[in-house]
């Protein structure tokens, strides 16, 4: 679906805005922006992506090369929705390891069966 060309019908469309004060017009602008953005913000609150997960593991002390390998493998196993950082941290806690040791074990192909 592509929108069709349309002449400039500003004068007709603006009838309901004509008598608004500047302040009211500004308030209407920001209120509409809020409505436009709200569903996008909600989606972001409740979803994640490979880049977000890599950014989490980066913050947990893994290199960019390691985060990519870990997230690619976790995505292949359908685990991103659990939170890759959570999975690594909980693995470390269960195994009595540091977070780094747990991540390196996974990178070595070990302990995948022990992930929740």
């Amino acid at each position: 679906m592509r929108l069709e060309p349309r002449p400039d019908d500003y004068e007709a469309r603006r009838a309901h805005l004509r008598d608004l004060s500047d302040d009211d017009l500004h308030a209407r602008f920001w209120s509409l922006v809020g409505e436009v953005v709200a569903p996008l913000v909600d989606e972001a609150r409740t979803h994640t992506t490979p880049a977000i997960e890599r950014s989490v593991l980066l913050r947990m002390g893994f290199s960019s090369v390691e985060t990519k390998a870990l997230v690619d493998q976790m995505a292949a196993r359908g685990l991103l929705g659990e939170g890759t950082g959570r999975l690594v941290l909980e693995l470390a806690q269960r195994q009595g390891m540091t977070v780094r040791e747990a991540g390196v074990a996974l990178l070595d192909g070990r302990l995948w069966e022990a992930l929740s």
């Binding site: 929108l3 602008f29 609150r45 979803h47 994640t48 992506t49 913050r59 390691e66 929705g81 941290l89």
Partner: protein, 730 residues
């Protein structure tokens, strides 16, 4: 690392021990506004603190070499492709007043779905990597110390690796970033959902680290067929990113709107652009404004571009701007050359100085066409938003091609950009968070099991990299061919052999630009200009600008080409020009050492004025730095001078020798050295001669340590003394 004004930046010193480098601060720094700031003979109203070192505007010569600094941050955008060359360009720009360095990324980095490492060469920009960020920030630390003002470092948090890039920026002390999911979506065709979900995380990280965020709405100006018609949509794009950024936690004063006056003359620029500038500032009160200069209508004529950019800057002064960004005047004809970054910064500096205090004298009309047209733009923007919601929301509007239509909304040309919300790069990669989803790190956006407690989210394992930077994992290089060491081997080796080539962009590129007027018709003149350049031995000549003066009488050309020649510096006849050390640096060295100086005009010579000016505090002489100076007067014998030096335990002897008949000045210098050697004093003394006919080479040939001619300042003499003493102290 410390930079000295007379020494080139040493890239090897920048690269040394990068693994352990940590940035000295986080977040953005504004200039510090100063009220009624006196600079030289003038008082400035829109001023900030002076620089410690800079290259003033050429006309400053008439006003005591003043360099007044406006209160807007001044941006330069850098895109050479090699970060090691960028560093020198940054240093030059900083000396001309830039304090916001925006590094353009290499073509294609937006579509790489992970971070990259090392120092590969880029095209139209650099690949942003940890090593390049770290090296650049380290060099900027030294450059900001040199000029005496904080410099903000900035790049892009967009593309498929946005959240990781944001973390990288936070870890590495980057101060500002472009972040706008609409840019990914509309201009890079990255999947809509991926762009927005990633953006919230990236923005949360930017907020945590105090970076200034700049949005991407200016891209709509740059791509629109008729840029003045997209103004209603520009307001909407700014607002979508702003509201989204606020939701992700960025405070209003860290959100900067990237705004460009849409038109250029011969369009009636201010009549079109000023109402838009006013509408934007009305709607976005409380946010920051990054005023960019126009690129949409830039051609190959640098004079024309500069006039447009002056008018853009005038609009900033008539309304408001927190950052005045600059566009190089050659952007219409090539990837910017480094001296044109400086030209652009100078255009802003010159314009801002010239317009100082404008708003205290000139007010925009409160009614009439300016306000009417501003109102109309705002109403059109409200109508644009209403239609988005009528279509079902943002996703539906993008799917239908509501954005980047070339019509003056609500006029529609039907040529808007259509994006499939299930398509584009990174489509299908957005995953719903499970009920127990967790991310045990700071500055994470949205549902997170670790965010509920009272501890920091990263407490369970001792802290994330944002709390404990020692956990950051540094990778030096991944490619043993495409890296800075390999590039430097060639360039530095040639410099080490004392060879020099002209350049405009990258070290050793050899590019020159010649200007020539050819008095013939356009086509003939064009062919002739190229042939003339070949006869100048320029390789691959190319006309980069032709301006017709008259169809038959002739055209003016700028022709670039490569000079296939490296010259040997050793063969040059010109003396080495050494910049003096800064006053503070001289004083810091001299005061604690109590250095005694004995000075006299020697021989049968009654000239006293020159030496007084070198010594006296009143004349800006070396006494101001804390030298203990004894002036013996005029017509003093060389023996008396050395006697006084022994008595005073002086380290420095200054002799003035003005008369020159029978080469008496040369004989005096030679005898001073010989006498000092005879008396066993030579190694303990610094012997310096001055006089109207004295040169440094002549004094050195006579065995002295330095010689100075006409017009020498105390600062120059003191600098030389400090440098010699430093060398002797090792």
């Amino acid at each position: 690392m410390k930079l000295l004004p007379d020494e080139r930046l040493d890239v090897r010193a920048v690269l040394e021990d990068l693994e352990h480098y940590r940035p000295r601060r986080a977040g953005w720094t504004w200039r510090h506004h100063v009220d009624h700031h006196p600079v030289g003979p003038f008082v400035y109203e829109d001023a900030s603190d002076d620089l410690e070192q800079s290259v003033p505007l050429p006309s400053a010569h008439w006003f005591g070499d003043i360099d007044p600094q406006g209160d807007m941050v001044v941006t330069t955008e850098i895109a050479s492709g090699r970060f090691e060359d960028d560093l020198r360009r940054m240093r030059m720009a900083a000396w001309h007043g830039a304090d916001h360095i925006m590094v353009i990324r290499t073509t294609g980095q937006s579509h790489i779905d992970h971070l990259i490492e090392g120092t590969p060469e880029g095209v139209g920009g650099i690949p942003v990597t940890r090593k390049q960020l770290r090296a650049t920030r380290k060099a900027l630390d030294a450059i900001e110390d040199e000029v005496g003002r904080p410099i903000n470092f900035h790049s892009y948090v967009s593309g498929l690796a946005g959240p990781e890039m944001a973390v990288l920026f936070a870890e590495e002390g980057v101060n500002g970033a472009h972040q706008d999911p609409q840019y990914n979506l509309l201009y890079r065709n990255i999947n809509l959902h991926r762009s927005f979900v990633d953006a919230a995380e990236a923005k949360a990280v930017l907020a945590h680290a105090g970076l200034l965020q700049i949005d991407g709405a200016h891209n709509a100006n740059a791509t629109a067929k008729q840029a003045w018609k997209v103004t209603p949509e520009l307001l909407v794009q700014h607002a979508v990113n702003t509201a989204y950024s606020r939701a992700a936690g960025i405070p209003a004063d860290h959100i900067a709107l990237s705004t460009v006056p849409p038109t250029a003359p011969p369009a009636p620029k201010l009549r079109l652009d000023l109402p838009y500038a006013v509408a934007l500032r009305d709607l976005f009160a409380g946010y920051r404004f990054r005023a960019q200069q126009n690129t949409r209508y830039i051609e190959s004529d640098m004079r024309e571009a500069t006039v447009t950019h002056v008018l853009d800057t005038l609009i900033s002064k008539l309304t408001s701007a927190d950052i005045q960004s600059t566009i190089t005047p050659d952007e219409g004809r090539n990837i910017p050359w480094h001296y044109n970054n400086v030209a652009a910064v100078d255009t802003a500096r010159q314009t801002l100085a010239g317009l100082d205090g404008l708003q205290s004298m000139v007010t925009l009309a409160e009614d009439g066409p300016l306000r009417d047209e501003a109102r109309e733009i705002k109403e059109r923007a409200v109508l644009f938003l209403e239609e988005i919601l009528a279509m079902g929301g943002y996703v539906e509007a993008v799917t239908a091609g509501h954005f980047i239509d070339s019509g003056h909304y609500p006029e529609r040309a039907g040529d808007g950009i259509v994006r499939d919300p299930q398509g584009g790069a990174g489509a299908g990669t957005v995953v719903a968070r499970a009920p127990g989803y967790g991310a045990p790190v700071c500055s994470h956006f949205g549902a997170n099991t670790y965010a509920a407690g009272t501890d920091r989210a990263c407490a369970a394992y001792g802290g994330c990299t944002l709390c404990d930077p020692s956990k950051v994992r540094y990778i030096d290089e991944l490619d043993d061919v495409d890296n800075v060491e390999v590039r430097l081997a060639g360039v530095l080796e040639e410099r080490a052999r004392g060879l020099l080539r002209p350049e405009v962009e990258k070290a050793g590129d050899g590019v020159v630009c010649v200007t020539l007027f050819v008095p013939d018709s356009s086509a003939v003149a064009h062919a002739a200009a190229l042939e003339m350049a070949r006869h100048m031995n320029l390789v691959d000549p190319e006309v980069i600008s032709q301006r017709v003066m008259h169809p038959a009488e002739g055209s003016l050309f700028e022709v670039k080409g490569v000079l296939p020649y490296a010259m040997s510096v050793a063969d040059l006849p010109v003396p080495k020009i050494v910049l003096p050390l800064p006053h503070d640096e001289i004083e810091a060295f001299v005061r604690p050492r109590a250095i005694a100086v004995v000075a006299a005009t020697v021989g049968e010579d009654e000239h006293s004025v020159g030496l007084q000016e070198i010594l006296d505090i009143k004349h800006g002489g070396i006494e101001r730095y804390g030298f203990d100076c004894l002036g013996l007067g005029t017509s003093v014998s060389l023996e008396q001078v050395l006697d006084a030096a022994v008595e005073r335990q002086a380290q420095v002897v200054l002799v003035s020798t003005i008369l020159t008949h029978n080469d008496i000045h040369r004989q005096n210098m030679q005898r001073l050295h010989d006498l000092a050697v005879e008396r066993g004093l030579r190694d303990a003394l610094i012997l310096i001669a001055g006089g109207t006919q004295v040169t440094d080479d002549m004094a050195l040939a006579c065995g002295l340590d330095a010689g100075f001619g006409r017009g020498t300042t105390g600062q120059e003499v003191a600098s030389r003394i400090v440098r010699i003493l430093r060398a002797r102290e090792g």
